[in-house]
């Protein structure tokens, strides 16, 4: 049971490790940070350097590798190569695993006495269009016992089935239906996978990046709303 790693607080481990290679090694990281790797630190009110004229881009927070996080260690021991990376951003821990071990990891996190992440806060999806593994499933877990909030990520190819979390947390039922509705991610083992917010016979998945904001299923609108000419 680790007390020091409360959510919201910056992860205490490895404070000096921050400036290292960051996320570049992790395949599951979002697009590479665009901030120049060697952005000169803005020196304190020194009028001398020429750079002071134009203040350099403020270096925002960046991803840091979790170094001696007990949960990461435990997951690595149990699932070895299934665990891709462990990072933190602004103090929020992110664990990336492969889709294959995802259900086992989740079942373990929920059932184990040590971690008991009994509460699925949220489940959603990100669309990295153009990547080989296009979708990134994002799960937020909370433990009522330790008060810790973590994020689990898993990348999946567009055609791949993602294992459903509904048998583990009932929360996932509607959330996965929503992810299916908006992204077209198929969940294997889901009890009742159908659209939830959009009509059942709607075509297309609106939150995909290649679905333009002005796009709509014109045939559906013509048929159901009896609008002959749908404005472009």
């Amino acid at each position: 049971m680790n007390e020091e790693n409360k959510p919201g607080q910056p992860a205490p481990e490895g404070p000096s490790e921050g400036k290292t290679g960051d996320s570049s090694g992790a395949p599951a990281a979002p697009p590479k940070p665009t901030t120049p790797a060697t952005a000169g630190e803005a020196k304190e009110a020194k009028p001398k350097p020429p750079a002071a004229k134009k203040p350099p881009v403020k270096k925002g927070p960046s991803y840091e590798d979790l170094t001696d996080d007990p949960l990461l260690k435990d997951l690595r021991e149990r699932f070895s190569t299934g665990v891709v990376s462990g990072q933190s951003f602004l103090g929020q821990a992110i664990y990336t695993v492969t889709v294959d071990v995802l259900p086992d990891v989740m079942r373990y996190l929920r059932a184990s006495d040590q971690w008991s992440f009994d509460y699925l806060v949220d489940l959603t999806c990100l669309d990295y269009i153009g990547d080989e593994k296009r979708f990134c499933m994002v799960y937020h877990l909370y433990s009522h016992k330790s008060g810790r909030l973590i994020r689990i990520k898993a990348r999946a190819a567009a055609a791949a089935m993602v294992p459903s979390m509904a048998p583990i947390w009932r929360t996932a039922d509607w959330l996965e239906r929503e992810a299916y509705d908006m992204f077209g991610v198929e969940f294997s083992g889901h009890p009742d996978l159908r659209r939830i917010l959009l009509p059942d016979d709607w075509l297309g998945y609106p939150l995909r990046k290649d679905y333009d904001i002005k796009l709509q299923d014109q045939a559906w609108i013509r048929n159901h709303l009896r609008i002959r000419k749908v404005p472009e």
């Binding site: 665009t34 806060v121 937020h140 929360t171 917010l197 959009l198 939150l207």
Partner: protein, 370 residues
Amino acid sequence: MDEPTILDAQELEINMGPQHPATHGVLRIKLKLDGERVLDADCVIGYLHRGVEKISENRTYTKCLPYYDRTDYIAAVSNALGYVLGVEKMMEIEVPERAVYIRVMMTEFNRIASHLVWLGTHAMDIGALTVFLYCFREREEILKLFEDLFGARLTTHAFRIGGLWMDLPPGFEEAARRFIDDFPTKVDEYEQLLTNNRIWLDRTKGVGVISGEEAIDFGLSGPPLRGSGVPYDVRRARPYGGYDQFEFDVPVGEHGDTYDRYLIRMEEMRQSRRIIQQTLDRLPGGPIRGKVPRIIKPSVGEYYSAIEGPRGELGYYIVSDGSAVPFRVRIRPPTFINLQALKRMVKGALVADVIAIIGTLDVVLGEIDR
């Protein structure tokens, strides 16, 4: 000798809603009934879907803000707080103390206003019309305060990245104090009408019971979770936006029924009043907006920022790709997730109880459908 008619059917499937006054918006429930008993229920939602998350991906960080007012329109003031806090965190923007206090104050006013709408409509659904009139009397006072400060009663666009748009107008503090001085007697008035009312007790006690374990399994948050005895309040669990500086209690129920959830919300109104009192007593001076860059461009990263809305945990998961437009803003809608438990809670109940259970979950369809 005769063909079976609908009267011979053992099971009857009927639609409740979407045009039904007690469904609090356009919620449609397909009820499977055996006489008066509910065998199964299936919620059909999405009638108000506007694609707020998609819109967010096509607007700059600041331009997203007004859309979030319109998700949960009953709690428009506090809605964007989670988002604003998240962006501030990612941008490392310091918010002046005065703005922090005013935000907390307005958020708590909003919680009271929202609970008043809940109480009024919930009681009216069950048959106590008077309470509705009382509640809207007080809510009107709060809406007037909102109008004074934000210029609007409902779609307030209250908080800005880095602080507030405007400082408190003259006379605001006095008006706010007048309200909170009177408010405890008003809550007592509501309680006098309901808490020991025989009909109210019969209609709410033991109705829509859900255990703490199940509530966690369903991901409930807000009063429905606390009603089942789980003391989870985001303001306590992961303090945000200055809440660690104020004293308040988190009421928790025992039985997980509609009556306990009612008591919790009544107590929450009192606690909100207590927080407002503290903000007014200790309101610091100074600026109301921090230093904010002209263009909001968080560096590549992601942040989950959640607040305890009147209905539960309202989270914003913001993902930035380094541009001026969010890569993704995911709204964790509390009532969407709470509504999922309806199916479980109405099973075996009477049709009339379905109304009470919808009321006790305090659904807002604008947020469910987004």
